[in-house]
């Protein structure tokens, strides 16, 4: 049986996969191309179609998630525009570095190693702070008036009073140059690694600038609307965006993103942060496994890599759902102010 010329089984599979990704995307503000593109590659799609369709999917999902976070008051547009400006410059410089490596024939292995190291170190850091019980991650936008809620590095960066200073949602000010510097650095990595960069920017906004987690997520999504839109347009020009992949993925992820964004109002991130860190670590392992498989010429390593990525996504989205349900059951009915807004 087919709908719009697409097998129903394929539609159901992409919709279910989209739901899983949407929960992660809505909750953490990351997890789009990082999950979709490798899955499409292992399914046998051409690399340009996998990347182009992945970007188009990320574009659609980020539009939906940004609208939802805007409704919750969790998007700082001024910060978002500044981040776009800084990141764009960083991406250009990163691309130049990558092209130079390509001329030397070192791009593939250097990028993979950098990807594994970066993903692994961020994952290890997040997991460590979660297990240590520190970091002060909170989903309450207004709670950061308490200096203890701001990471030490962010407090140091905020202490540099290099004018002009800008106010950021959450009730603090930071130097414009610090924001542009962080944006440029994350853009540099994003351009060098050829990824959307949500997994870099979201932690950077929190740990380096001190932006409250929900605002960091909402603002990061706002930025991804632009980067995803431009990226997918460029790939669509050469016919590398497949709507039969994007449309069902988006249908599932739209529902998942709504659940994930709603869960941010229910779940204290301290309860989930360790899973997020473990997901990043598993992502690093998955990339390493695929790289080793490619080096040794063993194709089954691609499947192992995909299983690790999907398993990690399933684990974390499941943790978000289970914790949300527990919180709902623990609340008294009169205290309900959650996802029905």
């Amino acid at each position: 049986m087919e709908v719009f010329g697409i097998a129903v089984e394929l539609l159901a599979m992409f919709t279910g996969f989209g739901l899983l990704i949407g929960i992660l995307f809505g909750f953490f503000g990351m997890g789009g191309s990082f999950l979709v593109t490798p899955a499409l590659l292992v399914m046998g799609y051409d690399a340009n179609v996998a990347v182009g369709s992945g970007l188009a999917f990320v574009f659609g999902t980020s539009v939906i998630a940004t609208l939802k976070h805007r409704d919750l008051g969790q998007v700082d547009y001024k910060l978002g525009v500044l981040m776009i400006a800084g990141t764009t410059g960083g991406i250009e410089v990163g691309k130049i570095g990558l092209e130079h490596l390509q001329e030397l024939g070192l791009a593939g292995s250097v990028v993979s190693i950098a990807y594994v190291l970066l993903l692994g170190s961020i994952g290890a850091f997040v997991t460590y702070t979660a297990l240590k019980g520190g970091g002060g991650l909170s989903h309450d936008v207004e709670e950061t008036d308490d200096a203890d809620d701001i990471p030490p590095i962010a407090r140091t960066i905020q202490s540099y009073n290099v004018p002009p200073m800008i106010s950021i949602r959450g009730g603090f000010t930071v130097s414009l140059w610090m924001v542009l510097g962080v944006a440029f650095a994350t853009g540099l990595l994003s351009g060098f690694l050829g990824v959307g960069g949500g997994f870099i920017r979201m932690p950077a906004l929190f740990y380096l600038v001190g932006v409250p987690v929900p605002v960091a997520v909402g603002t990061d999504l706002f930025e991804i609307v632009f980067s995803g839109g431009i990226g997918s347009f460029l790939y669509a020009q050469s016919g590398a965006v497949d709507l039969s992949i994007v449309a069902p993925l988006l249908a599932g992820s739209a529902l998942g993103a709504r659940i994930g964004a709603g869960a941010t109002s229910l779940v204290n991130e301290d309860d989930i942060k360790v899973y997020f860190g473990v997901m990043l670590l598993l992502g690093a392992i998955a990339v390493a496994v695929r790289q080793v498989g490619g080096y040794l010429g063993i194709e089954v390593f691609d499947v192992v890599s995909l299983v690790i990525i999907l398993g990690a996504a399933l684990l974390v989205s499941g943790a978000v759902l289970v914790t949300s349900i527990r919180e709902l059951r623990a609340e008294t009915p009169a205290a309900d102010t959650t996802i029905v807004d």
Partner: protein, 49 residues
């Protein structure tokens, strides 16, 4: 799908991105209405009330 692949480069890209954007907005509004209509029941169901 929908015959858009017969269009040339820029036009095809613009239509494709437009469709994705339109689908995203329709899904956002549609699921929003669904949430307004059913969220209370789902929450009560989860709570076991």
């Amino acid at each position: 799908m929908f015959g858009i692949y017969t269009l040339g480069g820029d036009a095809q890209a613009a239509v494709l991105i437009g469709i994705v954007l339109l689908e995203a907005i329709v899904l956002y509004v549609g699921y929003g209405l669904l949430e307004s209509a059913l969220a209370r029941r789902v929450i009560d169901l989860v709570r076991g009330l």
